[in-house]
Chain length 482, copies 2
Amino acid sequence: MEASEKVHTAQFLQHQLQEVITLLAKQQLEKSLVQRGPATNHELVEAVLHKQHQTRLQEKFALLHPADIAFILESLPLDQRETAWDAIKTDHDGQVLLEVSDAVRQTLISGMEAEELASVAGNMDADELADLAADLPKRAMLRILRSLNSTERMHLNAILSYQDNQVGALMDFGMITIRDDMSLKAILSYIRKLGKLPSHTDKLFVVDQHNQVKGILPLQRLLTHSPSLHVAQVMVTDFVVFQTDQDTNEASRAFERYDLISAPVVDKNGELQGRLCVDSIMDFIREKSDEDLLSQAGVTEEEDLFSSVWKSAKNRWGWLLINVVTAFASTRIIGLFEDVILQLVALASLMPIVAAMGGNTGNQTSMLIIRSLALGQITPANVQRLIRKELTLALLNGTFIGLIMGLLGFFLYRNLALSGVMATAMFINLLVAVIVGLSIPLVRYRFGKDPAVGTSVILTSITDSMGFFIVLGLANLFLLGK
Amino acid sequence: MEASEKVHTAQFLQHQLQEVITLLAKQQLEKSLVQRGPATNHELVEAVLHKQHQTRLQEKFALLHPADIAFILESLPLDQRETAWDAIKTDHDGQVLLEVSDAVRQTLISGMEAEELASVAGNMDADELADLAADLPKRAMLRILRSLNSTERMHLNAILSYQDNQVGALMDFGMITIRDDMSLKAILSYIRKLGKLPSHTDKLFVVDQHNQVKGILPLQRLLTHSPSLHVAQVMVTDFVVFQTDQDTNEASRAFERYDLISAPVVDKNGELQGRLCVDSIMDFIREKSDEDLLSQAGVTEEEDLFSSVWKSAKNRWGWLLINVVTAFASTRIIGLFEDVILQLVALASLMPIVAAMGGNTGNQTSMLIIRSLALGQITPANVQRLIRKELTLALLNGTFIGLIMGLLGFFLYRNLALSGVMATAMFINLLVAVIVGLSIPLVRYRFGKDPAVGTSVILTSITDSMGFFIVLGLANLFLLGK
């Protein structure tokens, strides 16, 4: 890929995007002008103009890195995206398809013929094909499978047999293996004969006749040691290796921890299966963090900026429906206490504050727990200390925020009993919130589930219900008797 | 670092952590037993036991990578962390200090003498020192500065002169520069003479006599081309280069886009200043995504799992106070309409649903916008299409969720007029929510501010207020007349 590395700043890319949009808009305009013009030669003129535009687009895209083309396609509305893709798809093979996000890839593939797809896929490595496989129509996939040789098919099947969160699904097969009885000189001339190393080759893998990894030979050592030495004398035997069925999250932590660029991946018997590279890990980290952030609001990665309105709606309704149901359930508490409100209407405007603050403090606790669980920092040995700390904090927060609540209540209604009840309700609800904020992620994690998923909805639903219940219940007990 | 690369799975680390905690607990126990025992020889016995434990801890830590030690320290409660750190700090120099999170580093440094710190820092590179600088006490820093030679001091000053979000702050000086008139053979023997390449060296930088970067020589090309060729014949002239004052976010996107391992960093005049490596970029991405996630709940990176209760409280109160104020402000709307509620108490339990759903839909929109802005996908040319799409979606959502709201209302209170008002209020509030969810991040971005910061608080505050206002206002207009 070095040949196409260019100095591309964000401004440069935005500028390119702007130009492409202008080109496409012009094309649209001319087309409509021709159609509205005199009826003769319509199709001929249109065809000539179309040809001109396609050529201009192709010239523009020819200068860009596939990742940059992917960026521009992602930023285009659906119809313009299709026009642009028509102009460029033949030149850039599958690289652009590999670089775009899943949602955009589906829109691009949906407009392509099976044969077209098969020819595009013809130039791909097994690990790249595996990335596309889920999005390809069956017919195209069969065609592609038939065109693969047996090694490629084996590689493809190997990757596809792993789950998304397993290391095996992210590995590639670009490793170079050597034996430990070779001299460095032999290795150097072997590499020269290869003529090209796979990208991200920072080390060679030393294997024995059973394909067991004995060590690694960093290029650095190859370059700095005497060529007369043997691999066994120079190789590193104390290295990081991953299992095909290992959790990718764990592997990404190891890449960060040990500053890896590439590492061997082995199966249960210790046989070399492939390698894991830092570029896949970076993509994984980015996708995971985007997903975590968007899922907080119930938007999935499936949705791109210009997904059709229907697709976006379907994507978001699930989450909104869950929220309607939980909001409905928690406000039913208020319904039970309608007579309390009628007797003391101030409660109607004060209780939402108690409910909301419960959600806020509970979220602070659960976010910290979720992140520490992801980092593997919480163990049976320290979890009690952690719980004690968060509870102490909750007592402090409850006193502080409860006091403020009481003062606000008194300031508004000059009613000491009312403000006492509000302060107490706030104190209790913040305690409840922290207990819930601790419990949900810890319990979910204990039972092997993702501690982040749904935590905030359940938490808010509980803190809302409890907030309303505590305020109205306390008011019912202590205020209405008077 | 190769020598200390080891096969460390998460289980392995958790196991190590467990063992350290057990060791520390045993030490604590024995100490208290001795103190409660017969009064003779207290100090002697204690000293012997202490020595024993320290040795055992040191043996344990000696086997671990600095990043793993950092992990264990981060997972220990404050007092145990200090004991463990006392046992190991001399052996592991500054590497552990560099690997721990900012909050934990402060707790470790606070217990160290200026001389101790200066000697630890003595083995560090300028870019590593720069990482620590903010956390070091002034006295230690002065001592360290005096011990540096002029190049090191220049490097340190260079890094410290950049802001956190600029590429210059993340660069290091481990680049190897060559001239284009050298032969590959000369380069090979030069490297052999060096004996060691800086980590992440995947390419050498080709500079002229003015220190301008002319090209790069990937190790790959060095290995695959004939040693008799000259650098000028083999080097790549079309490569990615960063500016010292460029935004780090942008650089991290470029690393992902072009799968870089290292890249030159130049100043405004094109002179080579340093290099940027993928490990720093990975750390940056991780920190940024942790920060984005935690800041959603108003928790800063300053807080670690076992920060003291007071520190945690101070860290979280700012956010909670803001939320009290906004919640208070928005519920004041309810206070204005107390007579409406007294006439139709059903509103008290129905209006929180309308307010909450506004927050939910608005958040979906703003999250998508914030993420697309971070990716640079939103431009003046496509923003109108985007706004149109989100507004159409809001009309759909409003009709759908509004209908559900109306049905729920009718189901509960058998009042057609009331359920009509609730449905309309929901429809209007969802429209308001999407407009606000679009505007806040776009406007903040327009004025050069981080679109993510505070968006959700402001959004929720507006959708709550508007939700209450619309429900109560409509009820006042259409329901109470009857």
